[in-house]
Structure formats: C-alpha cells, structure tokens
C-alpha cells in the first residue's frame, strides 16, 4: 500500500498505526489505509481525487466542504476520514446521473444561484438533504437550513430561489411518477 497522500503520511509517521477503512463514496465502496489524523475532506480531495468538495475556512465555519454523511450534511473538514469507515459519503459528484443533472443542480443553473461557485457544492448538498426531508419548504426554512453555508458573492437571494425552484421541480417529478 502506497500512502494516499504523502503530506500526512511521511515515513516518520510509522509510529502511529495506519487504519484500514472502507468508505462508500457516491455509491462505490473504496478500501484505503489512512493515518487517523487525515480529515475526510482531504481523503475525498487528495485521496479520491474528487475535487468538487471545496475546503474554504478549514475551521468549521463556512460549509464549503459540506458532504452528506449517511444522507446528513456534515462539514468534511471536521470529520476524520477514519470516522467514515462503514459509512456512506455523498459529494457533489454524486448528485448528477450520467445523463442528467440533479434538480438541485438544475435549480442553481436556472436561477443563477452562483457567482464564483466556491460555496456551491456545499450549498447544493445541504439543499438536497433539506428537500429529502422537507419537499415543500418555505423561504424561511430554506434560509434557515442554509445558514451553515456561507456565500460571499450572491447575497443568497438567487441561492434561495434556486432551492425553491428545485423543490417545485422535484415535487412535479415525484407527483408525475
């Protein structure tokens, strides 16, 4: 086993036992050896090369690194990779299917819910979890749910519109099916 990410597993690290973990990442089971201090955000980005998960503040404030941990939003800079052993992690790459964007992604596209796009993956995953739980949220409920995800560009207006639009689209899809 070569180290997944040399910056945190140099030779000198051998004093600490490496842990073998199996993580479900966007539906695929991956088995990797990690040093306990590797953060989930870094396993995802540097280990799995899924760079859609952004690390912003690195201090549990901004929510850019939000992923779904067993379907529930979590800041992946504040979860150890070893803690994901046996759990399912969904990143922004897991939202779209091969041919179609997820309605939340459609919503952000339609309503211009992003400018620089740095916060967008975290925003979309938090929004997906909200809509899974509450398919018909009010504007206040959307704002409340997104209050752990910071955006420095949009002023949030179009993000909220995007989520409300996605909710309507999802309800239509689910009603039609």
């Amino acid at each position: 086993m070569t180290s997944l990410f040399s910056e945190v597993t140099p030779e000198a690290a051998n004093e600490v036992a490496v842990k073998r973990i199996t993580v479900g990442i966007n539906g695929n089971k991956r088995t990797v050896d990690v040093e306990p201090r590797l953060l989930l955000a870094h396993l995802i980005r540097q280990g799995f090369k899924l760079t859609g998960t952004h690390t912003g503040c690195d201090t549990t404030n901004c929510g850019a690194c939000t992923v779904l941990f067993d379907g529930v939003p979590a800041k992946s800079c504040t979860v150890l990779a070893v803690q994901a052993n046996g759990h399912e992690v969904t990143t922004v790459e897991g939202l779209a299917s091969a041919s179609e964007l997820h309605p939340v992604q459609e919503g952000f596209k339609d309503e211009h819910g992003l400018q620089c796009g740095f916060c967008t993956p975290g925003m979309m995953l938090t929004a997906k979890a909200l809509l899974d739980e509450n398919p018909d949220p009010t504007e206040d409920e959307v704002r409340w749910a997104l209050s752990g995800n910071l955006c420095r560009c949009t002023g949030y207006q179009n993000i909220v519109k995007a989520v409300l639009g996605a909710a309507a689209k999802l309800r239509e899809q689910n009603g039609a099916s």
Partner: protein, 291 residues
C-alpha cells in the same frame, strides 16, 4: 490544517472506552461529535495522544423522559435530534429554546449536548441551560458511576471535574417540582457565531408561585455562570415586576464580562439584564394566558 499525530481507537462498549481512557493516562480524549475538539486539534490547542471515538457504541444516542419526568440525554444525542424533536418544547422549554441556537445547522447534525458540556467552553450554550435546570452529568469510570451537578462539573474555562479515566455517559435533568417553563436567549453577531451573551432561565411553578428557578449565563465570564442569587430572588413569588427586576439586576451583577470586539463590559451586562427580564416577562404572560 492537520491535527498532530494521535492513535485512534473506536470501542464498541462503554467499558472498553473507559479501559482505553485508563490506559491513556490522561493523554486520551473522547471524540463524540468532534465539532469543537477537531477544530481545536487542527489549531493545535489540543494534541491528545489517543482519540477514543465513541460513535460506534450503540445505545447512547437517546433523549427521553422517565415515567417520573426525569429527562435523560445520552452522550451521542446530537443537537439536531433535540432541535427536531416535536415534543421537547412541552416538557423541556428551556432546552427547546436553546437547541436551534447552537452553532449552525450542519454543526448541529454532529455535535452533542454532553460533548458541549464536557468541552466547557464559557461560550457554550448547553452548560447554561443545564445549570438553569439543575441538571447533572453522569460519569462512568473504572471504579463506578457518579453524578455531578453541571454547576459543579464545569470548573473553569475548558475545564471540568471529569477524571481522565471517566466517560460522561449522559446528562440528567431532574423531574420538575411543578410545571416547568423557561427560555433561552442568545445575542450573536451572525448565525453560527459564539454568543456575545446568552441567558438561560428555567422556572418551575407550583400553582402561580415559583417553586424552583435557575439562571445560567453564557459567554459573560471565564466559565459558565450559575446566577444562583438572581434565581433565588424569584422563588416563592409569582414573577411580579419587582421580582423580575430584582432577578435581572442580580444576574447582571453575577456576570463577569470582558470588553472585546463583541461589545463592552457594560453593554454585555445590560444584555444579560434585558434577556433575563425578557424571558421572565414572556413566562409571566404565558402563565396568565393559561390561567
């Protein structure tokens, strides 16, 4: 940012966790939600030799009432479970008022109430709430179990009386003497920020008179403050305006804020008095509606 190196254990039972803590000889830390511990480790304010992750221990994620009204919160009960509980407000109004003010929604999905108390951040919300309710922490160690009142459990900033080989397994809120009422108000500069000041007030009514009261203060001292004298001013009365004014003044006097970027010392004292009075006035109004 990476934490410094540590070894990682994920026991399946409380007993195993305690044994690991004992072997850690003070160099081991318990990882529950990790929403304060991991940031502190990344900033190297904390560098435990061993992390004992209790998330794999089944049966610790509860919050429930016993038949006599005693309320128990397990070590793995997340803030979000309390926030989303539909019946919490009826039995635990102070807790229900505080649950949605802790950090932000994503942090609340992982962070735990018991962890927050053990972290003993003077700006943590739950310790004040638990102090106002007269709650205790149940600590299990190699030699047995003990229960410590939260007011005595928190011994200073980021300090508790928990021994290095003890695991806090649950928080226990005693059954109310009468009808429980209460509230929590927190001033923050923006969502997710720590409190500029926070006030937890819990009152138990026997008829229209106050049988028991508790007031806890967040973020206005070097540790969570138990404003016992302010609470005592309410007992025996029926929340008259005089009583409320006295409690507000005593609570402000009990606070020991420092001037900083969140506000001046006098401003924070003023907030404490205002919040105590606001919560109590709202309780006075709601009890009048019932009567």
């Amino acid at each position: 940012m990476y934490p410094s190196r540590f070894s990682y254990e994920a026991p399946d039972t409380v007993e195993e966790a305690i044994e690991l803590l004992r072997r850690g000889q003070g160099e081991a830390k318990v990882l529950a939600g990790g929403q304060s511990l991991l940031p502190m480790m990344k900033l190297r304010f904390a560098s435990p030799g061993t992390l004992i992750d209790i998330n794999n221990i089944p049966g610790l994620d509860y919050h429930r009432a016993d038949s006599d009204g005693t309320y128990r919160i397990g070590a793995l009960c997340r803030h979000a479970q309390l926030e989303k509980s539909p019946d919490l407000a009826a039995s635990q109004p102070t807790m229900a008022a505080a649950a949605h003010t802790v950090a932000d929604p994503i942090v609340r999905n992982r962070g735990t109430l018991v962890g927050s108390i053990c972290h003993a951040d003077p700006q943590g919300d739950w310790a004040s709430v638990m102090i106002s309710l007269g709650a205790s922490v149940v600590a299990k160690g190699p030699t047995g179990v003990r229960s410590v009142a939260v007011a005595d459990f928190v011994s200073g900033p980021f300090q508790t009386v928990l021994a290095s080989d003890e695991l806090a397994v649950e928080a226990v809120v005693p059954a109310p003497v009468g009808v429980r009422a209460g509230g929590y108000l927190k001033l923050e500069r923006r969502v997710g920020d720590f409190a500029t000041a926070g006030v937890a007030v819990s009152v138990e009514f026997s008829g229209s008179s106050v049988a028991r009261a508790g007031i806890g203060l967040t973020g206005v001292g070097s540790s969570t403050i138990n404003a016992a004298e302010a609470a005592a001013a309410l007992v025996g009365g029926s929340l008259s305006e005089t009583d409320i004014a006295a409690a507000a003044e005593l609570a402000a006097a009990a606070s020991r804020p420092r001037s900083d970027h969140r506000g001046s010392e006098s401003y924070k004292r003023h907030i404490v008095a205002t919040f105590v009075s606001r919560i109590l006035t709202s309780l006075q109004l709601s009890t009048q509606e019932v009567a």
